[in-house]
Every structure is written in structure tokens, then in C-alpha cells.
Amino acid sequence: MQDNEQIQVARGLGLRDEEYQRILDILRRPPTPTELAMFSVEWSEHCGYPHSRRWFELFPRKGKFPVLVGEDAGGIVYQGQAVVFKMESHNHPSQVEPRQGAATGIGGIIRDIFGSGARPIACLDSLHFGPLDNARSHFIFKGVVDGIAFYGNCVGVPTVAGELYFHPSFQGNCLVNVMSIGIASQDRLAKSWAKGEGNLIIYAGNRTGRDGIGGCSILASQEFSGQDEKRPSVQIGDPFTEKCLIEATMEALSTGFLVGIKDMGAAGLTCSSSEMAAAGKSGIKIYLDRIPVREEAMEPWEIMMSESQERMLLCVKRGYEDSVLQIFHKWGLEAVVVGEVVDGDKITIELNGQIVADIPAQELTKPPVYTPPADKPDYLEKVNRYDWNDLPLPHNWNDALLQLMGSPNLCSRHSVFEQYDHMVQINTSILPGTGTVILRVKNLPWGIAVTTDCNPVFCYLDPYRGSQIAVAEAARNLAACGAQPAGITDCLNFGNPQKPDRYWQFIEAVKGISDACKFFNLPVVSGNVSFYNESPTGPIHPTPTIGMIGIIEDVQTAVNAAFKENDDLIVLLGE
């Protein structure tokens, strides 16, 4: 392939010219198409966080309880138990195909949790849509709720809480943020690395198809590809397989034969294999012809980039692979040895004896960092000049109250959470709709309180204060049921970071969250960034969703929000 032509391909994959140059420097030769594809996904916003990573340094990583900050999911430790939690966005897939988009969002976040060795015990969903009188918004809302119910209920992880918010800024770009929580004895947590020369790499779960190979259609359209008809396809959720994967993974972990494990999420095999190698400071060799594929004649880069769901990559002690394979087979899952840990620091991909990629794993997993210009948006001055005295008082306060209570943003969420199995695993001690949800921990006295919060309008008016308000609201929710706030995860939903006003909102929000967390002595244990949430009518309101968990020492003392008895006193606290 000509150099020039390759730069075109690189650009088509979303790589900048200077990034292409860096690839040349790393490899000291032109990249193969597979290598180019691997760099493009690994350095993408989605996997590499080039625009946001440096700001994460602001987040406090310590709190009242010991903190775990892992590769995929972080958590806190309480009485020897690791409570692992993380939130993630599935906004764009849900906008295109609401049911499957939301379903695969739930699947993905749950894999992050059990990939860390913790059993998933709950999910939460924070949802933002355009107003319901818009037919498309209504369709997306219904599809998303249906998708979460479809996947979450089947996989046996209760969806216990969340948020639902309607605002015109989400009309062309909905937000589907999902959070999952898991629990494990601290000493049973898994590593997401591959190490120990000779140890084996096992692929387990669903087959690899051409799902979600977005950017790669560019590759396919070049001469070296061949046939057409390789349209990227939507990922379909398979909660039944995921449920079996959870059980098989938990069983495999208990054998002690696993060295490391990682789910194949965004960027699939590329991300899991290179990050496992980099984390273990090892080399990995993958034999592509052994990967179970769903479709014929898949190109190497298609296999490496596919985002097919319900797949895990394991590193297993040599000599014990059969016991591990057997566990997966028992659960009706495909599992095969696809590679091994090798000397050196490279990730090497071989297809039928030919090397199609050979990249230093550390370099691949070290995406560039960008700090584009940030500028305070013009709208702020105008909106903040608003004189509240201009607001007319209602004539009839009763009518106003009724109207408020019936409005889509305030009315009962019963019809949503009733569709979610919020009781499976029999831990839900305080049920949704009656107060902040509390999960008991079986056979132990304490419990876990969970909530998600964010008001995008506040964040639009002042991203710094709005983000602080979100943290404070979450903390209040937990305190109100008797729990100690213990840590947060976040999902930062913003517009295009290359536009200075959006980027400014992002930075302000990160600062706001950091300062609020320091004030409350709360660690940020994990999180996720979703940029480019824009539609032709503009960006979404900045939405840094906060997911917070708290610890309640004695779950029997938890209280729900209901008024209990006649003649009980009602006290208003605060100003």
C-alpha cells in the first residue's frame, strides 16, 4: 500500500496526521491494515479518552473507606468486602436502536463488574430523552426501558434505581447511562492482566461477528478489502449467554487457575488483549484462526475490532486450561485457547502462520492526550441575567401543585421500574419508589444504599455548581435513608470537545465534582466520558451523572421515605 493512500485510510479511521506519524515512529515501518485499525480504536475517544484523561487527575481517590481504583471498575472496601461499581453510557447506540442499544449497555456494564471478579448485585439507569410529545422521543424512551427490562431481567441482576428526565436538548441525542454494582470478598478480586510466559489465553462466550465495526467500513471500502455488503450492523444483546458467562466466570475464578480476565467491550479483542498485555507488562500472541467467528471470510481487522457482545478473554495458568474450558462448556458456552503469553512486550496477531499485527502493547495502550482550547460559552451571561421577579406567581397554588406532580419530570416512575425485576437476588430491602434503595448483604449486618443524580438544567446554567449540586443531592439521598456516602462513579455526557464552549463545560464539571467530593471526603472510584452528544439543533445540556453508593452499618435501621403514623411530627431541616 502506498504511503499516501495509507494516510487517507488512517484519516478515514479518525486518526490525525500526527497520530499516524507517531504510529510510524513506534513501528519504524508502515502499519499493516490490522495495525492501523487497532491503533484507531485504541486511541479513539471511546477507549483512550484523549480529551479527558488528564482532567481525571483532579478527582480525589481517597475517602472514608479504603479505595480500589482498578482498570475497569473501582470500588470501596468495607469489612473485607469489595463493593465494586461503575457507570457507563450507551447513548449513541440507543439513539439508533433504542431497545438493543440499551440492552447491550446493561450487558456491557455488568461484564465490567464480573470481569473484576465481583458478582453483580444491582444495576441503575439514568435516562434522558426529548419531551414525550415528540413521537421519536417517545419511541426511544419506550424502546430503552424495554431493552433494559429485556436484558436486566433475564440476566438476573436487579435494576433497582435510576433517573428519568425529559428535556428538549436530548431530542436528537438521548442519554442512556447505566451503572452496575458488584460485591466480592476483597481477596477474591480478579486482575485484568496477562502475565507469566507460557500461560494461555482463552476466549469464551459468543462468537465474533461484524457487529459494531463502525470505523472499519472505511477499511473495507479500500482496494485491499474485496467484496461489499460489509455494512456495520447493530449489536444484539443475548442476556441468556451473559447469565451463563457470569456463572461460568465466577466458577472459573474460584478454581484459582485464572491469572487475569477482561471483558471484550468497546474495541473488543484489540482492547482486551492489548490492555491485558500492557497491564501484565508481557507479550501476547493471538492466533486469529482460532477465534470463533459467526460469519465467513472475516478480515483480520474485523475480528480485532468487532464489538460482538458477551465475550470474555482469560489468561489461564498453563496446564490448567482444560479445567477452565470445561467450566465454560458445562454452561453451554464456547471457549477455546486462542493464544499465549510470550516473552517481550508485544501484542502479536497471527493468521494462518502470517503475522498481521505486531505492536508494543505499552505504546498501543498509551493514547495521545489533547487539551483543546476551552472558552466560557456566550449563553451563560444571558441566562444568568434572568430576573426571577419576572416569574408570575400562580393564581391557584393547588392547581400549580397538581400540575407539578403530574409533569413528566416529577410524576411517579412506577410504570418504569415496575418493568424491571428490582427484587431478584432478594437483597432489595427498601424498594424503588419508597425512598433511596437499600440492598442488604446476605449473611452480613450491613447494607448498601445506591442512587444516581444529575440535573442537566443546573449544569447548563453553571456546570461547576451544577455538578456540585449533583454530588450533594446524591449524598443527601443516601443520608436520608441512614447511609454513609462512601464513593462515586460518574458518567460525563457532553458535546463535541473540540468546540471550546463544550470543552469548558466539561472542565468546569470535572472541577465541580472533584471539589464536592473532596468536601464530602468521597473518592471517585471509576467513571466514563461520553463526548459528541450533539444533534443538528446543538449539544445536549451538560450532564455529569453521578452514581453514588453508601454504607449502612445496620440494614435493619434503614428507613424509607413514607410517612408512618398519625400524629408523627414533621420537621423541616435546613434553610
Binding site: 441468556f240 437476588q425 430491602s429
Partner: protein, 236 residues
């Protein structure tokens, strides 16, 4: 007493039942893998809730062919006690070990909430600790709990007092508004004509502990234990 809890791929209330039976009620429990014929000499078999085989095709349609189901069929014929909860109920009707079928809920979506049930027959091993007509609260969580049976067979169920639980309001009244899923005759649970197989959509294991807000489900398990303690000498 020894309870066997069947684990199908996709079962997700198996360990919930196990927790209630062993930790809350102090009984011996055994997890029974779907591919094995061995019922491990259990005295009562629980087919738990969940989504065996993902509910792909039809609820319970694939699970009913598991080897364990052959043993359970024999176990039932010899008078053994079997409880099918939610997906377990669906598997029992697919296997024709209980009559009827379970259709999608009338509203077309999954429903998870506490419901009131009226206990219609207390002369069974599963309900002897309730009083006739008692109103209890147990959660449901299903997409396909809309019980259907052709009219001719329905009258048999009624005649033989095989209807055990019916959806009702907190006062035990039954009307259109108290039926969460469209079940014929508001049926929430039935028993086999031989009296030893119970199928019910509500989840008693979800209301067996104070910390979860309700005890009513526990009394079903306690009924079984009491019945067995009175009868197992006779059976042996």
C-alpha cells in the same frame, strides 16, 4: 427435610430459594444440575424462577427436555412434592405436569411488584398454615404469567379445588382491576390433581424475611416442612 433446587442455564432465583430454605429455614438443600438424572434423595424439588434458556422460543419450552425433568416426572408419579415458581411453573405447564399454558401479560410488558393473593384451598401440603380465604402479599416478577386454560378444563380445576391462589385486592375482593396479568379466573397458582405439584407465578422466596418487608411466602415453605414431618414416616 431435604430440598432439591434445580439449576437450569438461565435460572436466576435458584440461589434465592436456596438462601431461604437453608439460611432462613435451616433445611438441608441440594442444587440439582439440569443435566443429571440424580435427585439426590431430596424430599421436595423446587423449580426456581428465572429465564431458563433465556426464555428464547417460549418460556420453559427448552428446559422441559432436560434430563432432570425425566426424574422429576417419575418423582411426581411416586408422590413426591414439587413446587414450580414463576419460570418453574412455566416449565411444569410446558411439560404438561400441570394443565394450561402461560401467555404474555395482558399489558404486554414485564411486571415486578407486590400483589395480594387469596388462598383458595388450604387442604394441601403447600398451604396448610394459611386459613381459607386469607389474603397474603407476595411479589410477582414476570413477562408471561397470564394463565390460560380452555374453558372445559377450567371447570375441572374449579371442581377439583386445584386453584390455590387468586389475585385479589387487600380485602380479598377479586375484580378486573386486581388481575395484574390477565390470567383466566385471576389464577395465580394451581395444584396438580394428585395434590403434590404446586405451580405459582408469585415468588414466595422474595417474601420470607423481615428485612425484605414480608413473611407471607415463608409460610408456604413452612407448610411443606410441617406436612412432610407429619407424613414422611408414613411414606418410608
Amino acid at each position: 427435610m431435604k430440598f432439591g433446587i434445580v439449576v437450569f442455564p438461565g435460572s436466576n432465583c435458584d440461589y434465592d430459594c436456596q438462601h431461604v430454605l437453608s439460611v432462613v429455614l435451616g433445611q438441608e438443600t441440594e442444587m440439582l444440575w439440569h443435566e443429571s438424572h440424580d435427585l439426590k434423595e431430596c424430599d421436595c424439588i423446587v423449580l426456581p424462577g428465572g429465564f431458563s434458556y433465556g426464555d428464547y422460543l417460549r418460556t420453559g419450552a427448552i428446559a422441559r427436555f432436560s434430563p432432570v425433568m425425566e426424574s422429576i416426572r417419575n418423582f411426581i408419579e411416586s408422590g413426591g412434592l414439587v413446587v414450580g415458581i414463576c419460570n418453574g411453573f412455566q416449565i411444569l405447564v410446558e411439560s404438561q405436569l400441570l394443565p394450561g399454558a402461560l401467555l404474555p401479560n395482558q399489558k404486554g410488558h414485564f411486571i415486578c411488584r407486590h400483589v395480594h393473593l387469596r388462598v383458595e384451598n388450604t387442604d394441601t401440603p403447600f398451604t396448610r398454615l394459611f386459613y381459607p380465604g386469607e389474603v397474603i402479599s407476595i411479589p410477582i416478577a414476570h413477562h408471561q404469567g397470564n394463565y390460560f386454560i380452555p374453558h372445559s378444563s377450567l371447570s375441572n380445576l374449579q371442581k377439583n379445588r386445584q386453584i390455590i391462589f387468586r389475585y385479589c385486592d387487600m380485602n380479598g375482593q377479586i375484580n378486573h382491576g386486581t388481575n395484574p396479568n390477565g390470567s383466566i379466573d385471576s389464577i395465580a397458582g394451581i395444584i396438580s390433581s394428585s395434590q403434590n405439584v404446586l405451580g405459582m407465578m408469585p415468588h414466595p422466596e422474595r417474601s420470607s424475611e423481615a428485612v425484605l418487608g414480608s413473611h407471607d411466602g415463608k409460610r408456604i415453605f413452612l407448610s411443606i416442612i410441617q406436612w412432610w414431618e407429619e407424613n414422611h414416616h408414613a411414606r418410608q
